[in-house]
Subunit: 412 residues, 2 copies
């Protein structure tokens, strides 16, 4: 196995001081699933009467845990999540499904709940047999270790090629009552032979039924996890789950549009965005965080598609790596998105300096402030594509030799 | 400017010995448009009464020459093509359109034809002013130099980051009469600050009207130029033109489905495929040519979309660069295409050795022959996605540090 990579230069200074969330407990152990002597298995427990929402990969070859979670989500009951790193349990036929069931049964037996109340997630190498016995054997210990303040250990246990654990939280009010939202995530960086995954697990003490949670989570996706890209490769196992312990003493809220949820929706969006940007900050080989803002599109969805096309362009990403204000590549990527644009109003700015304006190059723009901006760790690209109301912000990282070196390493 | 790259290790040994095509002449000069002391401007002349077909970039930000060619194609008359390397004449507003017109007028004056019978193509840096006066000043010399056997010089004059000139030809019969097809191309590799382009110019002495030519060219695209990818970035200037001098003495053929055209259609397809694969062989940093075959899809178009998704996956391309039979990344890319597949019949082979079969990993496959296959210059990946009739073949190259080094170089 490759040695662990150095901490990303774009990593935050430290893991945030996340407060406990009423009713929610975590535990993690080193189960030796693939890695040695490091946390690789976590358990999350929520109390009876909790609700859950989820969003999963759109891959046509999803992992066995994703198939299980989709089924349980429809039933709407939840008591726990068990998640491991090192093996994604993908493409194993019936054996893979049986492994997921064995995990759920083991947790259910230890927590005295039903197996269909246990959610399962896995990340790591795909196609290899999950050593499920190493997981089930540790479940009693995990249950014994459950603590309200062990969220950072849980964040560490789902890391694969991540170079730092990712966590975020926010506090807000529902109907005047304080509520907490906390989340952890792991990145979409991928390393041979691991095909890693984007996982995000978010918890809250808010008192919200499944339908409301699901609507709020789906709405938050577009501006966060669906607005980032490292290499454009969707994983077989991408999973975002939102658990609500329903412990906060506010009045019931039954509609996602209820104005009493505006503060909560903003806070959830902020946590999702923070986790998503941390994933980009840990993109393989990343040296620069690139924020791309699209304005003037026909609608927000079109703006996001244009933004992601630019963000996925290897030519744009290598230009940023080289500190090159190559707006021609940006324009070409905008064109490739095949979304409605107004060429006569197409404009591009790097770090606030316009290099193309209203469909033509800016004559003799000053390259100095732009070169200085591109030499930094945070690069901003602003693109106006017309006069429409649609706008979006997406994040990516630069494409460097480090990405190639990590991903071309042979498996042995 | 970066020094010229070494000849691709995947290049053919030499430029083919292309025979003259009746009625067609070429010329090339070093006009100093951007490069010094190398051919960068070519002229192609066809006789009066010739026909032409074309396929252009679907980019929403096409170059000024593309806009001009689309317009002239609708008129259906042709006498010449003028093409340059070094500057793509893109994103220059009205100035860009005037430059194209100036080129067409200069050629028309020298050849005593109409400007709307002159096609124009440009490749190179985008957003900078085309020094059109350096082009128009050389037109009389180009016309004086026109020769039936100067096709290799023409192929050299459209190179940008290409490391070898690309040519191909085939002979066939229409209604028993011998006919020749010859073509040149340049690659889609891109280098700072040049955003290069895929250009292909094909000539034949066949006697075919525009509508027939257009149908045959469009049909040949799917299995050639539309079946390759280096980095997934569509250019603003991609142009494929097919010129027929109508000199061959066969009977007129008025329908593309006419069985007398079967041999010609096959030969055209072969020339297009050969040129397309040469473009991949010259992909920036390419060390390996990767041929991906998809079988069992619902139809050929779906198979091609799946194949191109695999071919565009940076994870697959870096795994190939590293000699890693990472079929998990192949499966993940197939899933990401979101085309209809049958997971229970999904199978993957490298170099003829199955590593995944009918929806699950092959237990203990022998890695040795696969490792030997992946260590070579030509890598074959065969993917069965179901039991449907759809199949496709696509080509790509591996993704190496060379690609990053070329594309992250600063413009100065």
């Amino acid at each position: 196995m490759a040695p662990p990579a150095a901490r990303s230069p774009l990593a935050p200074e430290r893991f945030p001081a996340i407060p406990p969330v009423a009713g929610v407990r975590f535990a993690a152990v080193a189960a030796g699933i693939r890695y040695r002597d490091r946390l690789d298995l976590m358990l999350l427990e929520v109390p009876e009467g909790s609700s859950v929402a989820g969003v999963f990969t759109r891959s046509a070859t999803p992992g066995h845990p994703v198939l299980w979670c989709r089924k349980q989500l429809a039933r709407g009951r939840v008591r726990a999540l068990i998640a491991n790193a090192g093996n994604a349990n993908v493409f194993r036929g019936e054996e893979g499904d049986r492994a997921v069931e064995a995990e759920a049964r083991a947790v259910a037996a230890a927590l005295h709940c039903r197996p269909d109340e246990v959610f399962v997630a896995s990340t790591g190498v795909i196609g290899e047999r999950l050593p499920v016995e190493r997981i089930t054997a540790r479940v009693p210990e995990l249950v014994a270790k459950l603590r309200p303040d062990a969220i950072e250990e849980a964040a560490r246990a789902i890391m694969t090629t991540d170079t730092f654990p990712k966590g975020s939280f926010a506090t807000c009010r529902i109907d005047g009552v304080p509520v907490t939202i906390a989340g952890i995530a792991k990145g979409s960086g991928m390393i041979a032979p691991n095909l890693a995954t984007m996982l995000a697990f978010i918890v809250t003490d808010a008192r919200l039924p499944h339908a409301v949670l699901q609507a709020l989570l789906s709405s938050a996706m577009d501006t966060s996890f669906n607005a980032i890209t490292v290499d454009g490769d969707t994983s077989t196992s991408d999973t975002v789950l939102l658990f609500a312990s329903n412990r906060a003493p506010h009045h019931p809220v039954r509609e996602p549009q209820d104005s009493r949820l505006a503060d909560f929706a903003d806070a959830l969006r902020a946590v999702c965005e923070d986790l998503a940007v941390q994933i980009v900050r840990d993109g393989e080989g990343a040296q620069k965080l690139v924020t791309i803002t699209i304005e003037g599109a026909v609608d927000d969805a079109s703006a996001r598609r244009i933004g992601l096309t630019v963000a996925n362009s290897p030519l744009v990403k290598t230009a940023i790596a080289g500190g090159d204000a190559n707006w021609g590549r940006v324009v070409a990527a905008v064109g490739r998105a095949q979304e409605p644009i107004e060429l006569a109003h197409l404009s591009v700015a790097f770090g606030g300096c316009w290099v193309a304006r209203d469909g033509a190059a800016v004559a003799d723009f000053d390259e100095k402030p732009i070169a200085a901006h591109l030499a930094g760790r945070a690069v901003d690209i602003r693109i106006v594509v017309g006069r429409g109301p649609g706008k979006a912000r997406v994040w990516t990282c630069d494409l460097t030799r480090g990405y190639i070196d990590i991903n071309a390493a042979y498996r042995s």
